[in-house]
């Protein structure tokens, strides 16, 4: 079945768009062999991510079932999730100390 966006691992809180998605568009969200309807809140470019659940400030962002960063603000379900609301935890010479 064709899907419009993919969740790679069940515990992930972001999905990746497989085409440009318009605000309030109802899409098919795939995970493994399952697919479910979902509505995004804003325009998501091909390849960009959106949250699939409400994410709190400071919460880990999970993709591939792994931590890819941390929310720098609340990210409501269906919002574009990218550098404006996610920071990296690695290579942060600006923070002065090693974090992991």
């Amino acid at each position: 079945m064709p899907i419009d966006a993919i969740i790679i691992k069940e515990q992930d809180n972001v999905a990746t768009a497989l085409r440009n998605i318009q605000p309030n568009e109802e899409i098919t969200l795939g995970m493994g062999d399952e697919a479910k309807p979902f509505v995004v809140q804003e325009f998501i470019s091909y390849g960009h991510k959106f949250s699939v659940k409400d994410i709190a400030l400071g919460e880990n962002i999970l993709k591939y079932g792994e931590v890819i960063g941390r929310a720098t603000q609340e990210i409501p379900a269906g919002a574009h999730a990218h550098i404006h609301n996610i920071e990296s935890l690695r290579g942060r010479g600006d923070l002065g100390t090693r974090e992991s």
Partner: protein
């Protein structure tokens, strides 16, 4: 399983049969370039190093040049020197000669300037190309292949299709007795714990973690967030948000084989199977490092469309981004976007990459070779220019 390659006198096998023209210092590049333009069948290696550097880096330039000259894709080698560089022409020439191949030298200050050096070099290389043309391809086992793994201009499609598909192709090569080299240590950051689990023993796992720490500490030493440099601006436009996300997608190209060993930059592996080599991910440095480590073929996945090849090692380009496949067809060799569209399985795509790679190793030209988009070359330096 076999491919048709060039078996050298020291037993190792090339997939191409060029005469290499290697600058041993940045200051010889003009002559190297001019000679290579005047002789068909010659491949130049030029770089920005070789003088006014710390002994650590000069040693690395010497060793990288020896590795490049010893690469089985070169039938013979001309070394071009200015005459006053820090690199050691005689050492480099002697070490490459040990492979059994013919090595010639041109020293610009001895010959008497660039013009005479170009003329002398052209005459030498003409003769070397003719000699090399007598060598014929013969059936060779795929266990002779040393595959370099590379991804570049990545986006979020890279981790979904081309990288895991290349991982499957790499596993197939290793099952057949071959070797794969994984570099791009910067792009292990955030995923090193998963790579370490693939290490054949805890010691190798610790070495992988150590390499990543060294690379990350070096990046952090400038006191800034590396985002923008890693992931790059292009990666970010393609939807990659953090280095961790980029890394988790990038390491998929290593497949599931156990990691047998960890090597410094440009070192020829002494074992078969999957190995890790220290290198950043930027194209000139990693492609050169893989060639110096003896790779006779490189597989390079891309999202947004990286065109770079290398002068004497075929670089197979693989994308999972349908837009890139359609827009940059002159640079792309394999399209695996059907995986993302649910029309092809990852194992099928992996087998397709493997077959394409074998065809290329037997002589099929890559887009980078056909277009001559193959000047991404330099040597990874760790110290300052002094």
């Amino acid at each position: 399983m076999e491919f048709n390659g060039y078996r050298r006198s020291n037993g190792i096998v090339g997939t191409r049969n060029y005469v290499g023209i290697l600058s041993i210092v940045v200051c010889a590049n003009e002559v190297t370039d001019a000679i290579s333009r005047q002789v068909q069948g010659a491949a130049p290696f030029m770089h920005q190093q070789g003088c006014c550097q710390t002994p650590v880096d000069i040693k690395r330039v010497n060793e990288t040049l020896i590795g490049l000259g010893s690469n089985p894709n070169l039938a013979s080698v001309l070394l071009v020197s200015l005459g006053c560089e820090s690199t050691d022409l005689n050492d480099v020439a002697k070490a490459i000669s040990k492979t059994g191949k013919r090595v010639e030298t041109v020293v610009i200050q001895d010959v008497g300037g660039g013009t005479r050096s170009i003329a002398a070099g052209v005459l030498l290389v003409q003769d070397m190309v003719q000699e090399a043309s007598n060598i014929k391809r013969v059936p060779c086992p795929v266990s002779e292949l040393v595959l370099g793994l590379k991804c570049g201009s990545s986006d979020t499609t890279s981790g979904l299709a081309p990288n895991p598909a290349l991982g499957i192709a790499s596993d197939l090569l290793i099952e057949a007795g071959g070797t794969s080299i994984l570099g791009e240590v910067t792009e292990f950051i955030g995923a090193e714990h998963l790579l370490a689990q693939h290490a054949k023993d805890p010691q190798i796992g610790q070495e992988i973690i150590g390499l990543v720490k060294r690379m990350e500490d070096r990046a952090k030493s400038v006191g800034a967030d590396i985002r923008g440099g890693q992931p790059t601006g292009g990666n970010i436009k393609g939807g990659l948000t953090t280095i961790e996300e980029k890394s988790l997608g990038a390491i998929a190209k290593a497949g599931n084989a156990p990691i047998q060993a960890v090597y410094e930059y440009g070192v020829v592996p002494r074992v078969k199977g999957l190995v890790v080599m220290d290198s950043p991910g930027r194209e000139p440095e990693i492609l050169t490092g893989l060639a110096a480590a003896g790779c006779n073929v490189i597989a390079f996945t891309t999202g947004r469309g990286a065109p770079q090849g290398f002068p004497f090692v075929p670089v197979v380009k693989i994308t999972g981004n349908r837009v890139t496949w359609n827009k940059l067809r002159d640079h792309m060799d394999v399209d695996v976007s059907a995986v993302i569209e649910g029309k092809e399985s990852l194992p099928e795509a992996g087998k397709r990459i493997f077959r394409e790679m074998l065809a290329v190793c037997s002589g099929r030209l890559t887009k980078a070779e056909i277009s001559g988009y193959n000047k991404a070359m330099d040597i990874y330096m760790v110290g300052p220019v002094i």
